[in-house]
């Protein structure tokens, strides 16, 4: 039997729960380590970033108002969906030259990481919230609260695992986000959009863009409706650009360069807290 001709996939972006192409209609070639063509990915423009921020802002209110229990279930559902489609992701990583064993490990760790953060949604306030014994006759308590729209700049390394290691702690607490996927291999992140789409995550909570960082990072980090930036690019110039842009609207910036995304260190509640505000409520006590 002759080999069947494979149907190739057109990779698009994931914005507001839809899969649009870049408004610029531009694409760029994604290749494997041997420069062999894998696919054309969207080369997103500044306008695409702005559209994604808008979608992210629109989704923030509803997502952050969900109960912590519900958000935990949704995150768990993402893991379930990924588990079901893991062969697809393993193949996709292999296409880019990752060995089968390593690809499988990456997908497995990704799934487990989602489970880890899913479990935190309804515990973070308990562990990091406080009742404050003020000296006056008031009841006073503090609890963590999502900061808003978070811009995530993902690295090229372990493109699936790293992207999800960044997204999970951000959305667990009720933030929405715009992810700039790996530049060299954005395909797993885009396919992950399909998983999100099938997992009860409201459209706009996670938005995934592809393209060149030098065309998108500036817009994302200077956008006034972005509350925080989660950056993994270690390069000094990029860091400085992000920091300077952040000062335009007092954004919170977390630089998080990592060599090895498989480490257990990436699983900790302090990453969730990086993108949360502390809200303190007072009320008089009396009759």
């Amino acid at each position: 039997m002759a080999d069947r001709l494979e149907v190739l996939k057109t990779y698009k972006t994931y914005v507001g729960g839809k899969f649009p192409r870049s408004e610029s209609d531009r694409t760029y070639r994604v290749t494997d380590v041997k420069e062999k063509h894998i696919a054309n990915a969207c080369r997103c423009s500044r306008k695409d970033v702005r559209d994604a921020v808008l979608a992210s802002r629109s989704a923030f209110g509803g997502w952050s108002a969900r109960s912590a229990y519900n958000r935990g279930q949704v995150l768990y559902r993402i893991a379930e969906m990924l588990e079901g489609r893991k062969e697809q992701f393993i193949k996709e990583l292999e296409l880019a030259g990752v060995k089968e064993k390593d690809a499988r490990a990456e997908v497995h760790t990704t799934i487990d990481r989602l489970i880890y953060f899913a479990g935190w949604t309804d515990k973070i306030s308990q562990v990091f919230g406080t009742v404050n014994p003020v000296a006056s006759a008031h009841f006073n308590f503090s609890s963590p609260d999502a900061t808003g729209v978070v811009g995530i700049i993902a690295p090229d390394k372990s493109p699936l695992l790293s992207a999800i290691s960044l997204i999970a702690p951000v959305i667990a607490s009720g933030n929405s986000c715009v992810l700039l996927a790996s530049e060299t291999n954005p395909l797993p992140a885009v396919s992950f959009g399909e998983v999100l789409h099938a997992s009860d995550v409201p459209g706009g909570v996670v938005n995934i863009l592809t393209g060149y960082r030098n065309e998108t990072v500036d817009t994302l980090s200077s956008h006034k409706d972005v509350n925080a930036v989660f950056n993994t690019i270690a390069d000094r110039e990029t860091r400085k650009l992000i920091d300077e842009n952040a000062s335009i609207s007092v954004k919170r910036v977390t630089h998080y360069p990592a060599e090895d995304w498989f480490l257990d260190d990436h699983e900790n509640p302090y990453l969730i807290l990086e993108f949360m505000e502390t809200k303190t409520t007072w009320h008089p006590v009396g009759i």
């Binding site: 562990v127 920091d243 007092v250 809200k279 303190t280």
Partner: protein, 509 residues
Amino acid sequence: MSDIKTEETIDKTSNGSPKPTSPNSDLKLDFASFWEYSPAPESSDFVEIDEKYNHFINGEFVEPVKGRYMKSINPATEEVLCEFAEGTSEDVDKAVKAARKAYEKTWSKLSGNERGKYIFRIARMIQERARELAIIESIDGGKPIRESRDVDVPLSAAYFFYYAGWADKLNYAFPGRKPKSLGVCGQIIPWNFPLLMLAWKIAPALATGNTVVLKPAESTPVTALKFAEICRDAGLPDGVVNIVTGAGQTGSEIVNHPDVNKIAFTGSTNVGKIIQKSLAGTDKKFTLELGGKGPNIVFEDAPLDQTVEGIVNAIFFNQGHVCCAGSRLLVQEGIAERLIQKLKDRMETLIVGDPLDKNTDIGAINSKAQFERIQNYLEIGVNEGAEIHQSSCQIPENGYFCRPTIFTNVSQSNRVVQEEIFGPVLTIQTFRTPDEAIEKANNTPYGLASGVWTDKGSKIFKVGQSVRSGVMWSNTYNKFDPTSPFGGYKESGIGREGGLHGLYPYIKF
């Protein structure tokens, strides 16, 4: 004096019958006709303020390298209070070196328990010198003695007392992690609560094992220098606390000094942004406590008289020089007219004048520059078409004083609604539904503090969840406590001060 109740002004209950009211419910507040207030000045003769103050570096008072001095003005009299050193890069460098040396040689080597004992000592000495500090705070900054005596100074001592206790318990503060100190902290504080802001900054920094270089504001440096005496008297190791005085340029020298590990700034959002920008690309940690435009939301079911007191406290406390001031009143339509009338009546009773008089409610505006800024905003408000109302009180001829002011007929886009005025100026808007109130409350770049007034608990929590601000005062306003975290969302800042959360900015894992 009292209006006759007409059919329209009588409140109806849900079944249409008039609500029971007190027979005097329409009387305007008129304290003066019952008794006149005699002057009640706090005696200040035992307080010593030197003619000239130097930096406090490495445990001693040292003259500025360049020999330049600035003047601190008593804003209630416009007279020069004293001269103080203007810090240059040389002074800042000396201070940072002293702080570094103290960090490496002594402070980071002390056990938490010993560190804590030094901080407890400081807390006690502030209490011992409370009266003196309160008087100086009022003379130097213009705030009413009642506030510096009852709020600023006792709270400052309380912050030190609270954080002293943390020094040897830090391993319990961060689940699963062992905290480490950062090193040298550069701290820049504002003029609205000079000693209290110093306490907010220095107490957690020392408790977590850091050393500090602190710059007080150029209009209110004196209590910080008195605090330096306390550090000396408490036997705090040399260089653990260094005070360098000066203006913005001195602050920028601290921010940009390469050997500072962390910057903590409280002040305007504009300066905060400049600081954040100048820290770009460095590894310095920072916290920013910036401006606000606090919405104070009043629902129809709020207890009106208590609410009026709360509104007064929200905006006229400390002349409105409060970053978390409730400067935007949002009133539900049904009660707007009555509430505003009651507020106006209450404003008439506020005493504006000598900060050292114990009866004074509103003292002097902190500086000429701030006075002009407020006057400018009053003009902007009027030019934008807002209706201005000021109390008719007498104000002293000399000194910088501003009558309590409200603006009605304002819209969300008016500059007086959007921008922080930092004075006794309140804008009043109305709303119909809770959603509208929440939307208006959130419609500024700020998110520091907000207030909500209602008798209904569920409404408090709904509004509290939806308004994006770091502090939510329900049926109260402008309350502070060392155990209570404070800090903003959005452009009101980054990080929290106070409480367990106030330790985070001063540690690393």
